[in-house]
């Protein structure tokens, strides 16, 4: 090697595993256009050549709500507190769907993008981030549906619901869910590159998690013993707090929310570190 070259300006050095904390956020930022294009792609590809197109965003939660209404409210006779079941389920489903989407879709990133990842380099975090954003857009659209039905119940049915100022925290709730969904998703996607069994676990795991979240029943219905178990689930305080903000019925507690926030942030940090480690070698193991 020539010694006179040592002071040359290399723009990049490709090395084996660099440090665990070398996350290259600046590089990620320079790929922001790609994030937006991925969001657009996720949108367009799903509804091209469908007759109803984006209407499916409405149909999915509606049908699910009706199903829940018949099964849990009519057949199983599970109470929904003071709230009309339809409104109760729809709020729960809309919120839950966003979290589950973030989690579900980011958890298979390495496997479903292996073809692209195997050929081109770009910061891999672009993919899960774009998924979280495109799910957020879908969530926004579904929220419109909710607002429509909410208004109907408020104006025509004169239901006793109290919108209150805590709903101003709504963006913050969404952010926690996004953080948690993204964090869990990339943890699983990192692990599934080596241990594919996790894919199977995840499929029903998320479904089970829904039943451990007050989506189809209010937390207040539970005995204190179960309640404390359920509050260990970081999504529980979010769902309850959103319902409190919307209906004045639910549990709003700063400490529970702080717990959710802290939990989500830790999960995200663990996720990013793990993801960062895996993205460099996964092509050889997948």
């Amino acid at each position: 090697m020539n010694i006179e070259h040592t002071d040359e300006q290399w723009t990049e050095i490709i090395r084996p595993k660099s440090s665990l904390f070398d996350i290259k956020l600046k590089e990620l930022w320079s790929y922001r256009d790609l994030v937006l294009l991925f969001v657009k792609r996720d949108f367009v590809k799903d509804y091209k050549q469908t007759i109803l197109g984006p209407l499916w965003f409405f149909i999915q939660p509606l049908i699910q709500t009706l199903t829940f209404f018949f099964i849990f409210s009519k057949v199983a006779k599970i109470g929904t507190g003071k709230l009309p079941p339809i409104l109760f389920y729809l709020s729960g489903i809309t919120i839950w769907t966003y979290f589950a989407d973030c989690f579900n879709k980011t958890s298979t990133i390495f496997i479903s993008n292996a073809a692209v990842f195997g050929k081109v380099y770009f910061p891999r975090l672009v993919t899960p981030i774009s998924i979280v954003i495109s799910s957020m857009v879908k969530f926004g659209i579904q929220l419109l549906l909710f607002i429509l039905i909410y208004t109907y119940y408020l104006v025509f049915e004169k239901v006793d619901i109290h919108l209150n100022f805590t709903i101003l925290l709504f963006p913050f709730y969404v952010l926690i869910m996004a953080t948690l969904g993204l964090g869990l998703g990339i943890i699983f996607s990192s692990l599934t590159t080596k241990y594919k069994d996790l894919v199977f676990l995840l499929q029903f795991g998320i479904q089970l998690l829904m039943y451990a979240t007050p989506v189809i029943y209010p937390l207040a219905n539970l005995s204190p013993k179960y309640k404390s178990y359920l509050l260990m689930n970081p999504i529980t305080p979010i769902v309850e707090a959103i319902r409190y903000g919307l209906f004045g019925d639910g549990i709003f507690d700063i400490w529970y929310l702080a717990y959710s926030l802290l939990f989500s942030i830790i999960i995200l940090i663990v996720g990013v570190l793990l993801f960062n480690k895996v993205e460099k070698s996964f092509m050889d193991t997948i």
Binding site: M1, H5, E8, Q9, W10, T11, E12, I13, I14, R15, P16, K17, S30, Y31, D33, L34, L36, L37, F38, K40, R41, V44, K45, K48, Q49, A115, V116, F117, G118, K119, V120, Y121, F122, K194, Y195, K196, K280, S281, M283, D284, T285
Partner: protein
């Protein structure tokens, strides 16, 4: 004053063989246990040669082993080697798709690879949408793409189909569009992996032109191929890989020469001992020569060369008729040529030499085996017969007259320059 844009230093890449998911946890734990005790990774043992044909003793294999080379700005570097020599692994590391196990590569400037064009194309999206998406995947910003959009559309010639989903495209259009995006990246370093195999002739010409543009603009091209012909005519420098090691670096001509002389299985001569098993006629030597009767180093489509045979006649009762056969890698015979003159008379005992000249612009590019037989015709006696005397690769010149302007793969064993007559009627 040369400017090094890529420096590869002691680069290693290890792969694990066999079923990946079994026993990895135990290996992981073992690794971790060694790390805790500050010992070297037990699976990183150097120097198990990556020869796929031999069964190795280890589960791990070095796809690349101690690779070192520099690339100067403006070089068109051909990376050649047989399948499995480590070319693709090297490229994958260069394009950051996978990590090296040890060592490092220093890079100056943006690298774009055409490892496979059209990466990330989504069949449901329109041509235009895919230009943006693909461009962004390859590292362009939206603004850069917009400023190049017209050029890309023009280059790929799919203007009419821009708003059609690419799943309706013909494969040629698809590749053109994909290559168009990649070619307009304007990276400082461009990696190309045999994309020339696809597309029609006109398009291939455009691609080659683009490659030349890129290199004349002072940018650097890494061209990966196992096609000696393309390397010979496109590259300025080359490196030859074999079993994950660099065997030779030099100019493109040096590399192709070296490959011809040393590549496994290739040889340009064969000798025989004088032996009693050749009772009547004893072959002594067969070799390829240039038209100046010098030992040949490489065989170009556009060069005349000779096949020289030397043999000893022990018994003057037999008329020796040497025959030379050119065969493909299988047993199919491309052509055979019989010595038309020597058998007209019996020849006296002694040592004889016959040369058959293969004209320039006659063979196609590719691998040939050359077989020799020496017979007597009436009555037929075969004194010697072997189809595997010589093994060569004929290298193409993309400017050969037998191609006109076609740059793609030519069919057939031979593609002679024949007389054509053209007239308007």
């Amino acid at each position: 004053m040369s400017n090094t844009v890529i420096r590869v230093e002691h680069l290693y890449k290890q792969y694990k063989l066999g079923v990946v998911s079994t026993r990895t946890i135990s290996h992981d734990l073992n690794r971790w246990w060694h790390k805790v005790r500050n010992l070297e990774d037990p699976y990183l043992k150097v120097s198990i040669e990556n020869d796929r044909t031999k069964k190795g003793s280890s589960d791990y294999v070095w796809a690349l082993e101690d690779i070192n080379f520099d690339v100067q700005q403006g070089d068109v570097l051909g990376i050649v080697g047989k399948n499995g020599a480590g070319k693709s692994t090297l490229l994958k590391i260069l394009s950051k798709v996978t990590n090296p196990t040890k060592g490092q590569i220093k890079v100056k400037g943006r690298i774009a690879s055409l490892l496979e064009v059209g990466t990330g194309f989504n069949p449901e999206l329109t041509g235009k949408e895919n230009i943006y998406l693909n461009g962004a995947i390859l590292g362009m910003t939206k603004r850069e793409i917009t400023s190049k959009l017209d050029e890309i559309i023009d280059f790929s010639g799919v203007e009419r189909y821009l708003d059609t989903p690419v799943k309706r495209y013909s494969s040629g259009m698809y590749v053109r569009l994909a290559f168009g995006v990649a070619a307009h990246l304007e990276p400082e370093i461009l990696i190309i992996d045999e994309v020339l195999a696809v597309g029609d002739a006109e398009f291939q010409k455009k691609c080659l032109g683009k490659m030349k543009d890129v290199s004349t603009q002072g940018r650097t091209v890494l061209f990966v191929s196992h096609n000696m012909s393309a390397v010979n005519s496109l590259c300025t420098k080359g490196i030859l890989l074999q079993h994950g090691k660099v065997i030779k670096t030099g100019t493109a001509t040096e590399i192709t020469d070296f490959y011809q002389k040393n590549a496994i299985g290739l040889n340009t001569s064969k000798s025989w001992e004088i032996s009693s098993i050749y009772e009547n006629i004893n072959p002594l030597q067969i070799k390829l020569i240039t038209k100046d009767h010098q030992p040949i180093e490489k065989i170009l489509v556009t060069d005349e060369f000779g096949v020289e045979i030397i043999y000893k006649v022990n018994n003057s009762n037999y008329k020796p008729v040497p025959t030379i056969r050119f065969l493909g890698l299988g047993d199919e015979v491309a052509f055979a040529t019989v010595n038309p003159t020597i058998s007209s008379t019996n020849v006296a005992e002694g040592i004889y030499k016959s040369i058959v000249w293969i004209p320039a612009n006659f063979l196609n590019e590719g691998h040939y085996r050359i077989g020799l037989s020496i017979s007597t015709l009436a009555p037929l006696v075969i004194h010697y017969n072997d189809n595997d005397c010589i093994n060569i690769e004929v290298i193409d010149d993309l400017n050969a007259p037998t191609r006109n302007e076609y740059k793609g793969k030519m069919q057939g064993f031979v593609r002679p320059l024949l007389k054509w007559e053209n007239s308007k009627i």
